[in-house]
């Protein structure tokens, strides 16, 4: 075999390995029900869920409970299907949790609880001011 074809084959093999590894590591955005189903079947352990913090009728955020020592926090997230889920976060409460629009939790179900490894907050951005 010519050396160049050999190199070509190796390059293609690595490229395919990259794509396969990427698609198997890729996460996806799902709802809590889907996430639960996934954990039941043992298919995937960590996923992204997008939602909003639970609010009462007056529009106030409810259900945010930092632990006694403040090192952890739990809160109630409402996903796109309006399903409510208590989420445990194992790090200090992100200081902007209370004024975030949207919350992305990355984590999964463990023993029927949703444990977040990471929380991403989408805060109302003021990059482009629209009022004086």
């Amino acid at each position: 075999m010519k050396k160049s074809s050999l190199i070509g084959i190796i390059v293609i093999a690595i490229a395919i390995a990259v794509i396969v590894s990427t698609s198997s590591s890729a996460s996806s955005y799902v709802t809590f029900d889907e996430a639960y189903a996934m954990s039941e079947t043992g298919k995937e352990s960590t996923i992204h869920v997008v939602g909003e913090l639970k609010k009462n009728s007056a529009g106030q955020i409810v259900g945010v409970k930092p632990s006694e020592d403040r090192l952890t926090v739990e809160f109630i997230l409402v996903d796109d299907n309006q399903k409510e889920q208590t989420v445990f976060l194992n790090s200090p409460m992100p200081s902007d949790l209370m004024n975030s629009d949207k919350v992305v939790v990355i984590g999964g179900y463990k023993n029927d609880r949703f444990m977040a490894d990471k929380v991403l907050l989408k805060c109302p951005s003021k990059y482009e001011e629209t009022t004086l």
């Binding site: 490229a15 890729a26 020592d69 004024n99 991403l120 109302p124 990059y127």
Partner: protein, 853 residues
């Protein structure tokens, strides 16, 4: 207060300069294009016309940039750009950063660099001027159109102008009353970007972007003029120079993130970082294949593909970061200015154009039939370039997920691909193997430098360096206790690359071929970076281990990364005794930080009043009652004293929290880093206590009656002394009316370390009614004190005291061992690149002066 004249002239001038630069870029494209086409006949007049037009274009671009800077510098807040990116309280050197905070300004700096590079190319090139400058002018036409801000046919808007007036963007009733209304202050530069790296990192990045245009233009010129080989020589020094500028810019961005953001490292594989890393790798690959071509006439087609790919990937990076497509996936937020369509056209035009051009002449591009020998330098450099391409491909694919989602949606499908949940781990596991391969190749490739090699010669040349590197690595991993097999492999590969490149370097020095040392020096730098990354990331260790409480909910490892520090309470952590000593702010003219408890607020957050003398190291900087100026009142610094348990030596770190109003009032956390020779100690405050929040429990009010001056009592177990009442004439800087009365009680609290705090609760009566008894919060003693009542008969007062738990911060501290190897490696790499650039440039000049270019 408000300046009611508006400076229309300067904005109009700026707008006209943009239009001139746009029109001249099109004219220059045409003129230079004509010159390149009419190879012989009438060429000279078209060239000199094109040159004049391009110089006019460059001057107009410079004028545009100067105009925009003047608008920012003179605080013309009637302009949207100045209003939304600058403010009166901004330090002058950050006004430069305002220039490129907005998208329009960053396009402008890109255009400016291109124009300046165009001048250099006109000056230094003869034969290539016409075709190269055609491509340059064409790119300039696209770029200037981004800031044109002209509306065609009443609907179609081309570009977004930085010279637009505030009243044309923001709807506000004040403009209806007075169209010349000018706000008294701007909204300011995002405080997160108020960092010296942000003054230099963006222009470096854009210079890097501009430099990729140079080899691209030469390549296109070569294909167009069917001069397939000659373009490499003039393009090569620019490619190397682009490599060093873009590489430095990437690392500067990483360093900024390391110092400013709290993700605990210098590289987070964020899409914005990846978007520039990908083309940089391809650029480095193209540089190597171009060197191969110069040596052996092979790899020409590969070079062409890679040079084009570099430029297209730069355009793709611009599209990714500026079109808003990254959305959820990036910590960086970019708003779409309505330019995404224009950006896409820019990208597709050059993508399709260059592919079509290359395809049309592909068969005529000379190729070398002979295969490079396995024992040739070219072969190994080529393999190295391929590795770089794969390395870049691995990052490109996941970074493009949002684009893939969009494309699938465009064709009616549904795709919800999200980035890998642990992106650092995901990218690192691939990149580190590529890194190892690069180190091994760059070490071995150097041995083919001199003469023709065969198996035997290679063996004898290589065995000594291999032996040395094995011994060295063994010493390093036993002394630093590295047992992870992957890290041992990285270490061996890195050391091998350093040893073998040093070996070559020494022989180059011996033969006094200093000019040729660039490659080996750069490779030594890269290998050091690899080792530095391995140590600082692989052995990055959280030392803020919390051993006091482990919740049942979580695994041990999860629960122990943060410690709670209570005010003035010592705690041991990672060989240090830690002491949290309170929150401070940075005041103008006072070194260090001023405790928040020494300050009373005023209506303007930039000004605060000292309620007690401010003394630092025996020098008094402010008397009681002095007003102090705070340039950045959004920043709070937490004083954490570290005392080494072993040596008793201590130092203090001031990790920062910032309430960022430019980002919706988010609290942003920045670390403070203690740099030691063998490691960095990286500390940030994960959460600070906010006494005003809803989670703070206050004990029930306790009423204390005080009737004599000098009387002592307790507040939250601290001794306090009542020093009498005092009439005040202004409350919160508002003058009181003749019949209004405001009285304050003066109380001194004796706290730890001989510290005294003053509490001055007020009692305000207007029109014979009690109107306010605002409580005074002192967080050092975790208490709120209200002047409840004053008995006019005997002069006694009642204080209401509420107490809470002591102030605290939650701290995370990370050790980054041997991170300095990474920074030193970076500097060495930069030096190597510069030497290589000089060498290739003088080669070009020599050939040009002989009439070959």
């Amino acid at each position: 207060m408000e300046d009611q004249t508006i400076h229309l002239g300067i904005g109009n001038a700026g707008h006209i300069f943009v239009i001139i630069s746009f029109v001249t870029s099109i004219l220059a494209t045409f003129a230079y294009g004509k010159a390149a086409l009419n190879n012989e006949l009438g060429k000279d007049s078209w060239v000199s016309f094109g040159r004049r037009v391009f110089i006019a274009h460059g001057v107009a671009v410079i004028a545009t940039a100067v105009t925009l800077f003047l608008i920012i510098y003179f605080h013309y807040f009637e302009y949207h750009y100045a209003w939304s990116h600058s403010s009166l309280n901004l330090a002058v050197h950050y006004m430069i950063a305002c220039f490129w905070e907005g998208q329009e300004g960053s396009f402008l700096i890109w255009t400016l660099w291109n124009a300046l590079l165009g001048f250099v190319l006109i000056k230094t090139n003869k034969k290539w001027e016409a075709p190269v400058m055609t491509v340059f002018s064409m790119v300039q036409a696209f770029l200037t159109s981004m800031i044109l801000g002209v509306v065609f046919f009443g609907e179609f808007k081309l570009g977004s102008s930085p010279f637009i007036l505030l009243r044309d963007v923001i709807e506000d009733p004040r403009f209806l009353i007075n169209p010349n209304f000018v706000p008294s202050d701007g909204t300011g530069l995002n405080p997160l970007l108020q960092n010296y790296w942000m003054v230099i990192h963006p222009p470096m990045t854009f210079l890097g972007f501009s430099l990729t245009l140079v080899p691209f233009s030469f390549c296109i010129a070569g294909l167009w003029r069917k001069d397939f080989k000659d373009w490499i020589r003039p393009a090569l020094p620019w490619t190397i120079f682009g490599g060093v500028i873009l590489g430095t810019a990437i690392i500067m961005g990483g360093y900024w993130a390391y110092e400013t953001l709290n993700f605990g490292g210098y590289w987070n594989w964020d899409p914005v970082e990846n978007a520039v890393y990908v083309p940089w790798l391809i650029l480095i690959a193209s540089m190597h294949t171009m060197i191969v071509f110069k040596k052996s006439e092979t790899a020409l087609k590969t070079s062409i593909v890679l040079v084009i790919a570099t430029f297209i990937l730069i355009l793709y990076a611009t599209f990714l970061t500026r079109s808003g497509i990254l959305g959820n996936t990036s910590v960086h937020s970019f708003t779409d200015l309505g330019l995404s369509g224009q950006l896409l056209i820019y990208l597709l035009f050059f993508l399709i154009g260059s592919i079509a051009l290359a395809a049309s002449v592909w068969k005529r591009i000379p190729t070398s039939d002979k295969e490079a020998s396995t024992y040739s330098r070219e072969f190994w450099i080529f393999i190295g370039a391929l590795t770089l391409c794969l390395m870049s491909f691995q990052v490109l694919v996941p970074t493009s997920f949002p684009v893939i989602n969009k494309i699938i949606e465009f064709f009616g499908g549904l795709s919800s691909l999200a980035p890998p949940t642990n992106q650092v781990e995901f990218y690192s596991q691939w990149q580190l193997w590529f890194g190892i391969a690069i180190a091994l190749l760059s070490g071995t490739g150097q041995f083919f430098f001199w003469k023709k090699m065969d198996k035997e010669k290679l063996k004898s040349a290589i065995s000594f360096p291999i032996l040395i590197s094995l011994v060295l690595s063994a010493i390093i991993f036993t002394t630093t206790k590295i047992f992870d097999p992957i890290y041992i492999v990285i270490l061996v590969a890195g050391v091998y690359s350093i040893v073998s490149n040093t070996y070559i370097l020494v022989s180059l020095f011996k033969s006094k071929s200093y000019k040729l040392t660039g490659g080996s020096i750069a490779h030594i730098g890269i290998a050091m970076m690899l080792i530095g990354i391995m140590f600082s990331e692989g052995y990055s260790k959280v030392i803020s281990v919390n051993t006091t409480k482990i919740s049942n909910e979580f695994t041990e490892e999860q629960n122990t990364n943060n410690v709670v520090l209570f005010l003035q309470t010592k705690k041991n952590m990672g060989g240090y005794e830690l002491l949290y000593r309170g929150e401070g702010m940075s005041a103008q003219g006072i070194p260090g930080y001023v405790k928040k408890s020494y300050l009373d607020p005023t209506p303007n957050p930039h000004y605060k009043v000292a309620i007690q003398p401010i003394i630092k190291d025996g020098k008094t900087y402010a008397q009681e009652g002095d007003t102090l100026y705070f340039r950045t009142p959004e920043n709070t610094y937490h004083e954490i004293k570290y005392t080494s348990v072993r040596t008793g030596k201590s130092f203090t770190l001031y990790p920062r929290t910032q309430v960022n109003n430019d980002m919706g009032g988010q609290t942003l956390v920045s670390p403070d880093i203690k740099k030691q020779w063998n490691r960095d100690l990286y500390t940030f405050v994960a959460l600070q206590h906010d006494f005003e929040d809803e989670f703070t429990d206050w004990n029930e009010k306790e009423i204390i009656k005080l009737d004599s001056i000098g009387q002592r009592f307790f507040i939250n177990d601290y001794v306090a002394q009542y020093n009498g009442l005092e009439k005040v004439h202004a409350v919160n800087f508002i003058e009181l009316g003749p019949n209004d009365i405001a009285i304050r009680a003066n109380i001194t609290v004796f706290a730890e370390e001989g510290e005294k705090y003053k509490l001055r609760p007020q009692f305000i009566i207007q029109k014979q009614n009690i109107v306010a008894r605002p409580p005074v919060l002192n967080q050092e003693i975790a208490s709120r004190v209200t002047l409840e009542n004053i008995d006019p008969d005997n002069g006694s007062i009642s204080l209401a005291i509420e107490t809470s738990r002591t102030d605290w911060v939650i701290l995370q501290a990370i050790e980054k061992p041997h991170i300095n190897i990474l920074w030193i490696g970076t500097i060495i790499m930069i030096i190597g690149f510069i030497i290589a650039t000089r060498r290739r440039y003088s080669e070009f000049v020599k050939m040009r002066d002989k009439g070959f270019a």
